[in-house]
């Protein structure tokens, strides 16, 4: 069934058992991103230790795809440097733009390659990118904050 390529078991597992959910009391930056077409919402806290992403926590509400994606992303990016994270985010963005033609690089994306199936559903690509766009925004703000620009 075509639907099964969208709703992979690991996606629904993250949806039911989200990782890193619950906002940290302190943060280098906090961002809120909303999917304006459906109302899905993610609040993401990032803690930076120089170049290292020491902690990513989030709160949000939304569909299985958006929530599983942010859960998996926080798993994947915690403990990485900003440079490493940028490579992973780029790889994920390219996968989501592939319209089902790419299987994704498991060496870079690990479990997140299951989102290859989502890329076949144009209506759901935005759901899967919600958390990742929030991360990009948060990383920029956190660096600015740490440089004392705010």
């Amino acid at each position: 069934m075509e639907l099964d390529s969208l709703y992979q078991e690991v996606i629904l597992d993250h949806y039911k058992h989200p990782q890193h959910k619950g906002l940290s009391p302190t943060f280098s930056a906090q961002v809120t991103h909303v999917n304006t077409s459906c109302g899905d919402e993610i609040i993401l806290n990032i803690n930076l230790d120089n170049e290292l992403i020491s902690e990513l926590t989030w709160e949000g509400q939304g569909c299985s795809i958006s929530q599983a994606s942010v859960s998996m992303m926080t798993d994947l990016l915690t403990g990485k440097t900003l440079k490493q994270a940028a490579v992973i985010v780029k790889s994920f963005s390219e996968l989501m733009a592939s319209k089902g033609t790419s299987a994704g690089d498991p060496l870079v994306l690990e479990d997140a390659v299951v989102f290859a199936g989502v890329s076949k559903f144009p209506g759901r690509v935005k759901c899967s990118l919600l958390g990742w766009m929030a991360f990009k925004d948060a990383a920029i703000q956190a660096q600015a904050n740490n440089r004392g620009e705010r």
């Binding site: 069934m1 075509e2 639907l3 969208l6 709703y7 078991e9 629904l12 597992d13 039911k16 077409s37 459906c38 109302g39 899905d40 919402e41 509400q61 939304g62 569909c63 299985s64 795809i65 559903f121 209506g123 759901r124 759901c127």
Partner: protein
């Protein structure tokens, strides 16, 4: 004549196709847009094929034919709504959204002394169940003018709370703009009390009739409102055509919104005067083929009889409501019975997000809408991030309702497996 959705469906070419690898199309997204009968598709394409010319200009036969077709559509709309002042009170816009923005901007243009002038100390009233198209134009008008925005709240029973009507529509209220039927809840609002109170304080009443005009008989005189907006594409007509109706004396006093060709009487390098209504509000070459297509759509509906359409849809809504009440963990977002309610049925399912429900339904050939349905403040008031919406129309029947409920049960099974 008995009402046969199966017979009606034969007039709509889109139902000849299948979706999702050979599945029958169960189209339940009529609140977003309706499908089109062949007569509408042909009247629109015939305009281009046979009569295309810019209306109200051009000294040639085609221009006359195009003008006749366009003005003929205006007559059809006026008759359909029961416009007391006839066709001249019908203004064609590109959408209901434009109709409502036209009013908000035109009122914002009103000079001091004009009855529509809005400023600090004035109040504009809406409801908590408005579509964004009938909320944000007024939000913005209050922001530009310093007027204050107030609104009727929605009760737990999905009705407008009119218990404080005199505190909401106050003596300083200038504009009351409300929806006739909620695009989320299906609630049909009681207008008599609102109109009476608004007129008592000298306010004008604007009706967003997008979700009512396609589904029920409308008699403007009986409604008592001062302005009415609806969109063609939800009423079997083409996209790109909307209607604004207003009382002639009000339209005469209302300043224009868009300026340009066709809407002028006399122009010098430094001044201009305006053409009579409705031309005053129709700057530029209008959406002619779409207006003609809307005329064909309203003729199609009139031939069926709007009272028949409404009675059929109420009965079908009752059938679907009963089936939905039997689904475990399903909550209807809207009135529980067919009392003063149309065929828009929003719902939530415990444990499954609306977007996931909608995706599963789509895999079964069932087309619905999910999200906040352009009524975000209502979703917030109801404390639901989003809902799934099935909206019925005259070509739907019990088999469509059965397919929806079967698919909901299937979704519960599908997402319950983990």
């Amino acid at each position: 004549m008995s009402f046969s959705a199966a017979q009606i469906r034969k007039d709509f070419p889109i139902f000849e196709r299948t979706v999702c690898e050979g599945k029958r199309l169960v189209y339940l997204d009529n609140g977003a847009t309706s499908q089109k009968p062949l007569s509408v598709i042909e009247s629109e394409s015939d305009f281009y094929r046979l009569h295309n010319a810019a209306v109200h200009r051009g000294a040639h036969q085609l221009a006359e034919e195009a003008t006749d077709a366009y003005e003929g559509a205006r007559e059809i709309v006026a008759a359909f709504l029961g416009a007391p002042g006839g066709a001249d009170e019908i203004i064609f816009t590109k959408s209901a959204t434009e109709s409502l923005n036209l009013l908000a901007y035109a009122m914002g243009n009103a000079p001091v002394g004009n009855r529509f002038a809005v400023g600090a100390g004035d109040r504009i009233v809406v409801t908590e169940m408005e579509h964004h198209a009938n909320l944000i134009p007024w939000q913005q008008l209050t922001a530009r003018t310093g007027a204050e925005l107030a609104w009727f709240k929605v009760t737990a029973e999905s009705r407008l709370d009119l218990s404080t009507i005199n505190d909401v529509i106050t003596a300083n209220t200038k504009i009351v703009s409300v929806t006739h039927q909620s695009n989320v809840l299906g609630t049909i609002n009681p207008l008599a009390a609102i109109v009476a109170r608004a007129h008592e304080v000298g306010a004008v009443v604007i009706l967003d009739a997008c979700q009512s005009v396609p589904h029920m008989s409308i008699d403007i005189k009986a409604l008592g409102v001062d302005f009415l907006a609806f969109s063609g594409h939800k009423a079997l007509g083409p996209t790109g055509i909307g209607v604004l109706w207003g009382h002639m004396d009000l339209l005469n006093e209302l300043p224009p919104f868009l300026f340009g060709g066709s809407m002028i009487e006399n122009v010098t390098m430094t001044t201009a005067t305006w053409a009579p209504v409705p031309q005053k509000f129709e700057a530029g070459v209008p959406n002619m083929a779409q207006a003609v297509g809307l005329g064909a759509a309203l003729n199609y509906l009139t031939n069926l009889g709007m009272d028949n359409v409404h009675a059929y849809e109420v009965a079908l809504t009752g059938y679907l409501l009963e089936k939905m009440h039997a689904v475990p963990d399903l909550r209807i977002v809207g009135p529980a019975n067919t009392q003063s309610r149309g065929g828009t049925l929003s719902f939530t399912i415990k444990g499954i997000h609306p977007h996931d429900i909608g995706q599963y339904l789509d895999s079964q050939g069932v087309a619905v809408r999910t999200g906040h349905h352009c009524a975000w403040p209502l979703a917030r008031a109801l404390s639901i991030p989003a809902s799934t919406r099935a909206s019925l129309y005259l070509y739907n029947d019990e088999s469509d309702c059965d397919a929806l409920v079967d698919a909901i049960l299937g979704a519960q099974k599908y997402f319950g497996r983990f």
